[in-house]
Amino acid sequence: MTMERPLTQRIREDKRPLTLKEYEQVGGYQAVRKMLKMSPVQVQALVKDSNLRGRGGAGFSTGLKWSFVPLDAPKPKYLVANADEMEPGTFKDRILLECTPHQLIEGMIVAAYAIQADSSFIYLRWAYKTAATAILRALAEAEEAGYLGKNILSSGFDLHMHLHTGVGRYMCGEETAMLNSLEGKRATPRAKPPFPQVSGLFGRPTIVNNVETFCCLPHIINNGAAWFKGLSLTGDAGTKIYGVSGKVKKPGAWELPMGVTLRELIEEHAGGMQDGLKFRGALPGGASTDFLVEEHLDVKMDYTSVAAAGSRLGTGTIIVMDDKTCPVGFVKNLEHFFAQESCGFCTPCREGIPWVEKILNSIEHGEGRPEDIKVLEFHTRYLGPGNTFCAFAPGAMEPLQSALKYFREDFDRHIHDKQCSYSGLTHKKLETVNRKS
């Protein structure tokens, strides 16, 4: 049986984005035509039935999320595509955005129809310039062809779609911070409840979904829920675009059935570790997930199984750590990123993560103290979910807490030896984090 790759099979060899015509030739926008004959409730039911879970990282049921939007609420209602792909090590949406922008637009039309939204935005990462060009062109084509705008395909359904590019804040990937950013406010998250489905963009009912999630929708409409579920190897439906980065032979991204093992991904698709290097651990779903180590290599890469292994599938893009890379320095780099990207709204995140970064930097440079581990540990404990305003800091603590669990001897050795034993890997010593004498 040939492996089905609904999301990526239409991508051209040369990666040039499909024009509208090309997209239509391979069955594009059929889902819109089909869907317009269904009722919004039917579309919602179909998607709920397909067991599609949000591909942004949280893995929440897409159909269920939609059902919280009051269908009878007066317009405007909004739909937003989260294309602010900034999770370190994550580049799966980029492929879809750059190569098949019409697929995203089609998926968004499906979602908008299901929740009866009349206005929609694609919130795109600032640095994705190629994608921006492709999307703008696709939007113009779709509007010209009557797939967007007023009275779509004479159905009476209106949908306007706009591209909005961010300014490079990781925080905007959090859906409520993204909504604030779209409104022109500071990109700080919002307290939930109220959820965006009730009070979202400009205080109106809003759905935010990930790019990959949207791209699944036309195929679910065209082929049905059973087909979608059948794509997967496990209970979580569909295919998944997995990625691997790190010191493997062939880093990249591939659309595979949901639930392939971590081993298969690293050893087969990524070609295994580079010569002379051994696998030490991996972040399975971007920078804000817990490490998986050797014992987890046969874990199925779906939401349920990865969670059972103590981590999160997240974005499904794996960062591999090898045995010649210092885990302390590795985590320090991540925490540097998180400290930089904290929005500064709540205390534990704003003040805690920079502290963690400074300690890791000290340890990495041989200035660590035994009591530093305690400080790191209380951060991993108290920057947990619910204690901070949003999921940012808990995410930032995931690689740290698992590093302390799996690579504790490295931390202790740094502190004891007063130096980093991983040769050839010097980290820039940051003046600002120098410990006071």
């Binding site: 804040r169 925080m171 500071r186 919002r190 307290a191 409840p193 109220p194 009730v198 009070s199 400009f202 205080g203 400290a339 930089q340 990207e341 904290s342 929005c343 500064g344 709204f345 709540c346 205390t347 534990p348 704003r350 003040e351 805690g352 920079p354 502290w355 400074k358 009591e371 400080v375 209380f378 108290y382 619910g386 204690n387 901070t388 305003f389 600002t432 984090v433 120098n434 410990r435 006071k436």
Partner: protein, 895 residues
């Protein structure tokens, strides 16, 4: 009501509130920063973490932020849970990583919420040993000092300044652990409520710059409950003194009046008390030989024994002082000390309030009004705190949608997100643009007569038995209908007007609207603002206007005049005032501050300011409020009423015989003036004690008492005794809560900052324990609406003349606050405001001098463009030290 289990103890609490305010209402200590009772919850600081348990079997529980969770029935929470406590301690630890620990040199040290919360959580050992982040500070003008390094990023400042007060020039900048609160560039904070930042900030980032000029620790102040004297709203304040100078004004919470906030005029206008313009010694004009002793003074006055003496009262002096003067000279010789015009206006207000049917609203009620019409007043400049209340009122209608979405009102960020820019109905009919325009549904501009006409038309649209207005344009008719519809649709409509436009028809129109509405909706309220802090009290005392005094003078036998705390030149033209003075045999002036009038005094008697005198003021709502002496002034300065008692003795006037203290004056006043019955009972009298103890004006932490006068005398001086109130001038006395009208300062164990206000309230954000102080003595006695007639003609501009209308300035118009250096720095220079098109016709550019002739008197003033002024109208800033007095509006020649 709901049952809430806190650490396994059941409590009956009201539902709908959040857990933090519930715990605080119960008197439990729970630390917090970003939450503020007036600003609601946002969940930023994470300081108020507690544990919540599913049921009694749940031992693990889960951490929640108490400010972000509503009370639910039978909920089980824990404040003392070990994990919750440890988390709260860590929050302080995080906040302290970059805090400079400069308490010793910080203005807030010892009265700092951050210090209190640090102690409360038990955080004591610093684990963070890296360099601290530092910031550059900004110059923010004469009121507020900026010290960003102390910031703990609670976001309260911007939430107050932008969200609550409508300010535009303070914001949060940058991100991560580098968030900066300040202006986009250095400069004066523009908002009129910026001073509240000093109280809203939980630490020393924003502090009172005027206090810094003469700094003292706040617990070293001698303090007393006071009433602001800088406009007619009567905001409650705490005034503090040390070493004989007044050091600062802070807010005194009153749930009905000013709530948690003050305007900048009220907060920073106090420095006239210490100014060089203060009169500190008595002067007898003819006596140039040495010091004027009390004996000399009284002897000099006793020479007037057989003269007719007329008394000129003052709208900025207390009821007691005005009453004492009236008693002294006899009511037939007592004049109100305001112009005929002002007399007419204040009496119109008094009539509407006492003889009408519509109740006057307190500011809290204005905040709750769901449709507001402002007729004439530029409130930000004439009654600033009322403008702040209106800013909250426009949220009332959108808040109904918030409630429908099940978002609690205290969930501030979510509420604001849902309502977006939605505003409830607010209609502003004013002379020109005002600072409330940004939240107005509709604005309408014109001269006072035009505004009155639209007002009359609105009343007629509400009730067609109210007089109709002829010749309205279709646009005006449409607007009148729109306003009428919005007011009729509202649950709690409010009509606001005042005297600042100098127009009686305007007040009448406002009364007509309110009466018409009241017929349909008894929850209708009216608010009328007045020129001065005791204008209404003076009007109640009665007596004719100052012009009548001028007329009474010539022809009769030689007459003396006693002028009480009043600059006659602010109520009459220089010409007529001068004439009056020259025809007086003797002019006795009692005042605390030098003015043109004090220069005319034959006998000048220095009196106490509000801070040096007990007194009762009637605010615009008709609320009688007592203000207490903060400190005994040096050099024999006395309260005016006390001087008048002594003068009475010297003149052998039996009327005042037997008066010994404030209590005697106020009792006589309450007995004699029927409308002011009970005004002696608004605060406990001077014999009031709790367990035999007085209420100390000084906190128990007051320092230096035994040594502060050691340069004069090494033995500690006996503290002054207060015969006029139950307050003492010492640290000793009552340590528990005093009656709400006698709160000299807010303090509670572990709560050294102003946040201790929580402990004085029955419910957080509600009334003070025992009820909010002040008693409304003016109440509408009318049985049914009686409509005013006398609708003015439509305005037509004149060929060579402009109608000069009064422009008011929060900083500048009011006499006393303008003498405070910080306020003076913000006051404008005299100008004449014209529509640019009119200026173009006159071939004048902005800033160029323009020649005008008012009342036959030539003037040269620079032109200021104001595109919102109607054609043929000129705006003139009244009340500035350099501007002349006219009865505006007035036609004037401008070339």
């Amino acid at each position: 009501m709901a049952t809430l289990y806190i650490d396994n103890e059941p409590y009956e609490v009201s539902s709908g509130k959040n857990l933090l305010e519930t715990c605080l209402t119960l008197g439990l200590d729970l630390p917090y920063f970003c939450w503020h009772p007036a600003l609601g919850s946002v969940g930023a600081c994470r300081q108020c973490a507690i544990k919540v348990f599913k049921d009694e079997n749940d031992k693990k529980g889960r951490l929640i932020m108490s400010c972000m969770e509503p009370v639910t029935n039978n909920q089980r929470i824990s404040i003392s849970d070990a994990e919750a406590k440890e988390f709260r301690e860590h929050v302080i630890g995080w906040l302290m990583t970059n805090h400079p620990h400069d308490c010793a040199v910080c203005d807030e040290g010892g009265s700092c919420h951050l210090q209190d919360m640090t102690v409360m959580t038990g955080h004591a050992y610093r684990q963070f040993n890296y360099k601290k982040r530092t910031y550059k500070n900004q110059y923010l003008g004469p009121f507020i000092n900026h010290e960003m390094n102390r910031c703990i990023q609670c976001y309260r400042c911007v939430r107050f300044y932008k969200d609550y007060a409508g300010g535009k020039d303070l914001d949060a900048f940058a991100s991560k652990n580098n968030v900066y609160f300040g202006r986009h560039e250095e400069g004066v904070l523009e908002n009129e409520f910026s001073g509240n930042l000093a109280e809203v900030c939980p630490t020393g980032v924003f502090t009172d710059k005027t206090l810094k000029q003469h700094y003292t620790r706040k617990w070293d102040l001698t303090m007393a409950p006071s009433i602001c004297t800088h406009c007619s709203l009567g905001c409650n304040t705490i005034a503090g003194e040390r070493y004989g100078s007044l050091r600062m004004i802070t807010n005194r919470y009153n749930g009905q009046v000013n709530g948690y906030f003050l305007c900048d005029r009220g907060r920073f206008g106090y420095e006239f008390v210490n100014a060089s313009s203060r009169l500190r010694v008595p002067v007898i004009q003819d006596d140039v030989n040495g010091e004027v002793t009390l004996g000399k003074l009284l002897k000099s006055i006793s020479s007037l024994k057989d003269s007719t003496i007329i008394g000129i009262g003052s709208p900025r002096a207390s009821l007691e002082s005005n009453f004492a003067l009236r008693k002294l000279v006899g009511s037939e010789n007592f004049y109100q000390g305001v112009s005929q015009k002002e007399w007419g206006l204040t009496n119109t207000v008094l009539n509407i309030m006492s003889k009408g049917v519509v109740p006057s609203l307190c500011m809290k009620d204005v905040e709750k009004a769901d449709a507001v019409l402002v007729l004439g007043e530029d409130l930000t400049n004439t009654a600033p705190m009322l403008a702040l209340a209106i800013r909250q009122s426009v949220r009332q209608q959108p808040m109904k949608e918030v409630a429908k979405a099940n978002i609690p009102a205290w969930h501030d960020a979510a509420a604001r997100e849902l309502m977006q820019e939605e505003k409830g109905p607010l209609f502003l009919a004013t002379l020109a643009a005002t600072k409330l325009d940004d939240i107005a549904t509709d604005t309408y501009r014109g001269v006072p007569d035009t505004l009155a006409r639209i007002g009359f038309a609105v009343a007629n649209r509400i009730d067609n038995s109210a007089p109709a207005v002829a010749d309205l344009t279709p646009d005006e008719q449409k607007l009148a209908q729109k306003i009428a519809d919005a007011l009729m649709k509202a649950e709690r409509p409010a009509v606001i007007s005042g005297t600042s436009c100098g127009s009686e028809p305007l007040l009448n129109a406002a009364a007509n609207i309110a009466s018409a509405l009241h017929k349909k909706n008894p929850r209708t309220g009216i608010v009328l603002t007045l020129p001065e802090c005791n204008s209404l009290g003076l009007a109640l005392l009665g007596g004719p206007a100052i012009e009548k005094a001028f007329e009474a003078l010539p022809g009769s036998k030689p007459t003396a005049a006693i002028i009480l705390e009043n600059d006659v030149y602010r109520h009459a033209s220089a010409e007529s005032a001068g004439q009056f003075f020259s025809s007086c045999k003797c002019v006795v002036v009692l005042d605390h501050t030098a003015s043109s009038t004090t220069q005319k005094a034959s006998i000048l008697i220095p009196t106490g300011t509000f801070a040096e005198a007990d007194g009762t003021l009637l605010n615009n709502e008709g609320r009688a409020q007592r203000s207490f002496q903060v400190y005994e002034p040096a050099n024999g300065i006395r309260e005016s009423w006390r001087w008048l008692m002594q003068i009475g003795e010297a003149l052998e006037r039996a009327n005042l015989a037997g008066w010994k203290s404030h209590g005697d004056v106020i009792k006589a006043l309450a007995n004699e003036i029927g409308d002011l019955k009970g005004v002696d009972k608004i605060v406990p009298d001077s014999t009031f004690r709790v367990d035999g103890q007085r209420i100390p004006r000084e906190p128990h932490r007051y320092s230096g008492r035994t040594s502060m006068n050691a340069n004069i005398e090494v033995s500690e001086q006996k503290p002054a005794e207060d015969p006029d109130s139950p307050l003492s001038y010492t640290m000793e006395g009552l340590r528990s809560l005093p009656p709400s009208s006698l709160i000299p300062y807010f303090w509670s164990p572990g709560w050294n900052s102003v946040q201790s206000t929580n402990k004085y309230q029955e419910e957080i954000g509600g009334a003070l324990r025992g009820g909010d102080p002040g008693v409304c003595v003016v109440k509408p006695q009318g049985r049914e609406a009686v409509y005013f007639t006398g609708i003015p003609q439509a305005f037509h501009r004149k060929q060579n003349e402009f109608l000069v209308v009064p422009f008011h300035h929060i900083f500048g118009t009011e006499q006393l606050s303008s003498l405070s250096p910080a306020v003076a720095e913000r006051s404008p220079k005299p100008y004449v405001a014209l529509n640019p098109q009119d200026a173009m016709t006159l071939q004048k550019k902005e800033g160029e001098l323009i020649a005008m002739k008012i009342d036959g008197k030539p003037h040269q003033l620079p032109v200021k463009f104001n595109a919102t002024i109607p054609f043929g109208v000129a705006g003139f800033p009244v009340g500035l030290p350099e501007t002349d007095y006219w009865h505006l509006p007035l036609w004037a020649e401008i070339k």
